[in-house]
């Protein structure tokens, strides 16, 4: 289990950066929700629970966790299906399991579980190259939770599962022609989809997105407001608690989806660069962990967890600047959300675990 010497291999820099991001997030939640209210305290408790989950994750060898990955996977699928039947309904979708004291959002934990499952499956040392069968199995393993989450409906979270599949398959040796084909398809599909696949209002949304002044009250409201929020921050920002867009609720769900916009408003470009730098540092440091990993299992596990995280970070920040259509994707580590916080920190527990045990047998 946890040996004393492992302690020296803990990546304190990564933990420090993650902690810093969480602290920034907490400060922004404090600002956007008008002080230390219930939202703020929920986040504080989630942080504590997440830290405990992280420590707990560290104590077990990731390999023994991977050995039990099918149990975790099964439990996750059961929980997701359970949500569909017994989940609490909020805002039109069924995402939460009511556990009395708190609500749990199983879909948040699906990411790390799927990463563990795929890493285990594709990272087994005896396999030399990725076969089409492996790929097909991986796709099925991904689609099951994907569809369950999409049914809730929570397309945003469901989509975050796809990078796990893609990245793990990619590093596991998915033939490059598949990669090229996918890229090509994406490029070709875009204009066709724009022309034939979209409804008028969706096209309108894109054109307002390109020209903010066109319809400031209609389709593009949130995007416009996001840009105004970010742009009005300037280089140095309006000052902590001094933002007008977030404070006066011109930007909806500021403590959630648009927390980065509020950061940009109150702390300016400087704050943005600091936060971006921290995230980039965390990602690069985690990629290091993948590179240094003792085995493929470890590397894939790290990448699986990291891909979902990175995708969500990049998408959310792009959306925060009003540069992407608004989808209900939170910013990991910063946005308000207990399950997300705990699940993300659990994921980092796994990453730290792999790095820490790079010299063990």
């Amino acid at each position: 289990m946890f040996e004393r010497r492992l302690y020296h291999h803990i990546d304190w820099a990564l933990i420090g950066a993650v902690g810093a991001i969480c602290a920034i997030g907490l400060a922004m939640i404090y600002s956007t929700t008008g002080g230390a209210g219930s939202v703020y305290w929920t986040q504080v408790y989630a942080l504590g629970l997440g830290a405990m989950a992280l420590v707990l994750c560290l104590t077990f060898d990731y390999r023994s966790l991977a050995d039990k990955s099918h149990f975790f996977y099964l439990a996750m699928v059961i929980a997701l299906v359970g949500v569909l039947f017994f989940g609490a309904v909020r805002g039109g979708s069924r995402r939460w399991l009511d556990l009395g004291a708190f609500n749990l959002q199983p879909s948040e934990f699906a990411k790390a579980t799927l990463a563990l499952m795929l890493a285990k499956m594709l990272g087994e040392e005896r396999r030399s190259a990725l076969t089409n069968t492996d790929l097909a199995i991986a796709i099925v393993l991904t689609l099951v939770p994907f569809l369950a989450i999409a049914r809730q409906p929570d397309l945003g979270t469901a989509v975050t599962l796809l990078p796990i599949l893609l990245v793990v398959a990619f590093v596991a040796g998915m033939p490059m022609r598949y990669v090229y084909t996918m890229v090509l398809l994406a490029v070709l599909a875009a204009p066709i989809a724009y022309k034939f696949g979209l409804q008028d209002y969706q096209r309108e949304r894109i054109s307002t997105f390109l020209d903010p002044a066109q319809d400031p009250r209609g389709a593009g409201y949130q995007q416009i407001q996001a840009r105004i929020t970010v742009g009005s921050g300037g280089v140095w920002g309006k000052g902590y608690l001094e933002g007008t867009q977030g404070q006066l609720r011109f930007l909806p769900v500021a403590h959630n989806d648009f927390i980065f916009s509020v950061l940009a408003e109150e702390q300016g470009l400087v704050g943005v660069l600091v936060a971006l730098g921290l995230y980039l540092f965390v990602i690069m440091r985690a990629l290091d962990a993948a590179r240094l990993a003792k085995d493929r299992l470890g590397a894939y596990l790290v990448l699986g967890v990291l891909s979902s995280f990175t995708f969500q970070v990049v998408y959310n920040i792009t959306m925060s600047a009003g540069l992407a259509p608004v989808k209900g994707l939170t910013l990991p580590l910063m946005s308000y959300g207990g399950s997300s916080m705990i699940a993300t920190l659990t994921g980092f527990g796994l990453i730290l675990n792999v790095r820490m045990r790079r010299f063990t047998n």
Partner: protein, 634 residues
């Protein structure tokens, strides 16, 4: 081998991921730099527009008092419910909900919005001016429910006229500035300015300076805090020369006796207008919050023309009241002496035509000719004077031309001259024309105001006065007299003999065997002259064709001064279709009595009860379909 290859592939693909992630972050940083640095100014302004609103604070207009400090025009707070389209997401929904909540017809709300569609969207469109408290409460409750962020409830100072229609033509009314007024006076569009009467003429004094409040609002438009506030400055307080007790008495008396018409009372020395009434009138309160179309068109199409200020815009034949001018002119010009007598045999023949008198008066001197209103005497005197000297004295005494009162749209009174007729009709003046003029018929056409000025001039000894409505204003540092332009008319002293004879004659009209006995007030030495202005001769032709439905009864006049020897008041009462001057004399009686009662601190006389049995009085209170300022309640 396989493992090494595996490793290499992993390392390469990791590098790909590393580079793409870094590139993504680089692009994000560029995006933020573009918005936060390059386009910062634009977004900063947009953010400010989002959360800052400048709300105009309308300045209350100045309060208006009468000469005794009694309040005539006040302000009250009213609530306007408006739509600010700038914050509208769905105008149809807003209209629907607002109409339902306030109980106003949806069609009407839509019409108002449509009418102002071209206005800038930040400017509130007032949907319900002067909303009831229930409407305000309904809307305010909805607003808190975040339902109508684009509906604005504003408290605005609004003009209030506690006496409703009293002195309406004098005080005037306010309204939204027209486009011309906005550009001429550099006003903010939507400003409330005076549009009529004192409100218009002294608008600059009465209008305050609007303030503004810059506030921070949240996304649903609720005010969070005030950033800056410029307080509105109330307009100056204005004191009128009006004596509201007399004003009220005049209007009361008109109503009691059932006449429309006009009364003007001046202070003979300074020209202060103590009373100026014109009936029927309108209620300026109807205009204070924007007049509705129905009321406006009714006021405009009413045959009785309630918007016309008869005192300065109505022109009528002065009838026998003109004899005051003739008597003064004749004595001053020396064509006759007060004692010189002329024989009245019931009329006289001048230039081949017989002109009738109303009686056979026998030998008449000036005093008795005035008392009996002997036409024959004045035909003769008029003939002796000639039209140009009559005209000259018309100007001298203020009966010709405009009085110059500080009200707009005054019409000119006409006392003809040879030159006037040549210019007007391109015709020669015939000496025979002078004879009808001598008794105030024919080509004489004067306003009640002109007759009032004539009486004031005769009363003060000969100096023509310019009637003044405003005495003083107060900017907050005490009353200051308004700058009065110097009297353009040189001081004149009539001969004592003239004054004595005219005053005696007028006194006898009221206190002797004359036609003005109804104006007699015991112990007050009222001097006056009645007059009857024929309507029939003017309208005769039309009546013959049966085309007119107009009232053809004569107008009644009464001009007066009191007390006789040192007059403190002088004026005129004009009773439209009053048939005879005694109708006007009754109204004047009440006004004069009120003046002296107030001066001496006595109880004011009660509202007169119309004498039922008097044959000279027409049936009172002819049913007249007019918007009811007469006795109007609000």
């Amino acid at each position: 081998m396989a493992i090494a290859e595996d490793r290499r592939r992993l390392t390469t693909r990791l590098a790909v991921l590393r580079v793409s992630t870094a590139a993504a972050f680089g692009l994000l940083a560029c995006g933020f730099w573009f918005f936060q640095v390059v386009q910062h100014a634009k977004f900063k302004e947009m953010a400010e527009n989002n959360h800052q609103r400048t709300l105009p604070l309308r300045a209350p207009r100045g309060i208006i008092f009468d000469r005794a400090g009694r309040l005539l025009v006040d302000n009250r707070n009213s609530f306007n419910i408006s739509i600010v389209r700038e914050h509208t997401k769905d105008i149809d929904r807003t209209i629907r909900v607002l109409a339902a909540v306030t109980g106003v017809a949806e069609k009407m709300v839509r019409e108002i919005v449509d009418r102002q569609r071209r206005e800038p969207s930040y400017r509130p469109i007032v949907i319900i001016p002067d909303a009831t408290l229930a409407q305000v409460a309904a809307v305010t409750a909805r607003r808190l429910d975040f339902e109508l962020p684009d509906v604005l409830v504003q408290e605005v100072p609004t003009r209030e006229y506690p006496d409703q229609a009293m002195a309406a033509h004098l005080i005037g009314y306010v309204g939204e500035a027209s486009e011309e007024q906005v550009s001429a006076d550099h006003l903010a569009s939507g400003s409330i300015v005076g549009q009529f009467g004192i409100e218009r003429v002294y608008n600059k004094l009465l209008m305050g300076e609007d303030g503004a409040r810059r506030v921070v609002v949240n996304s649903v438009g609720r005010e969070i805090r005030t950033l800056e506030e410029v307080k509105p400055v109330q307009g100056r307080r204005v004191q009128l020369a009006i004596n509201s007790a007399m004003q009220k008495a005049a209007e009361e008396a008109f109503r009691a006796y059932g006449y429309w018409g006009s009364a003007v009372v001046l202070e003979p020395k300074g020209g202060d207008v103590l009373t100026l009434t014109s009936l029927p009138a309108f209620d300026p309160n109807d205009f204070a919050t924007g007049i509705d179309r129905a009321t406006w068109s009714q006021l405009n199409t009413d045959k009785l023309r309630p918007l016309q200020n008869r005192a300065i815009q109505g022109r009528y034949s002065p009838g026998s009241t003109f004899k005051v001018l003739l008597a003064t002119a004749a004595l001053e010009e020396g064509v006759i002496t007060p004692e010189q007598q002329i024989f009245c045999a019931g009329g006289g023949t001048f230039y081949g035509r017989f002109f009738q008198c109303l009686g056979k008066h026998g030998w008449m001197d000036m005093r008795h000719a005035i008392e009996k209103s002997c036409n024959t005497y004045f035909y003769t005197v008029g003939d002796m004077l000639g039209i140009d000297r009559i005209h000259k004295w018309g100007e001298q005494l203020g009966l010709a031309g405009k009085s110059g009162i500080d009200l707009p749209n005054e019409v000119e009174s006409i006392v003809p001259s040879q030159e006037w007729k040549r210019k007007r009709f391109n015709e020669k003046w015939y000496a025979g024309d002078t004879i009808s003029v001598a008794i105030g018929q024919g080509m004489v056409d004067v306003t009640p105001m002109a007759l009032a000025v004539m009486m004031a001039t005769v009363a003060n000894g000969g100096t023509r006065v310019v009637p003044r409505l405003v005495k003083a204003y107060d900017e907050g540092n005490g009353w200051q007299p308004v700058a009065v332009p110097p009297n353009p008319y040189p001081p004149v002293l009539l001969k004592p003999a003239t004054i004595a004879a005219v005053r005696d004659g007028l006194w006898m009209v009221v206190n002797g065997a004359g036609t003005g006995r109804r104006a007699m007030v015991a112990g007050r030495e009222v001097a006056g002259k009645t007059g009857t202005a024929q309507v029939i001769s003017l309208q005769g032709r039309e009546r013959a064709r049966g085309k007119t439905e107009q009232d053809l009864r004569d107008h009644g006049w009464f001009v007066f001064m009191a007390p006789k020897d040192n007059p403190e008041i002088a004026g005129v009462v004009f009773a439209e279709h009053g048939e005879h001057g005694s109708s006007s004399a009754m109204v004047a009686h009440h006004v004069i009595e009120t003046y002296f009662a107030q001066r001496d601190g006595l109880p004011l006389p009660p509202v007169p009860v119309p004498p039922v049995t008097t044959p000279a009085t027409p049936a009172p209170a002819r049913a007249v379909a007019t918007v009811g300022p007469a006795g109007g309640t609000r």
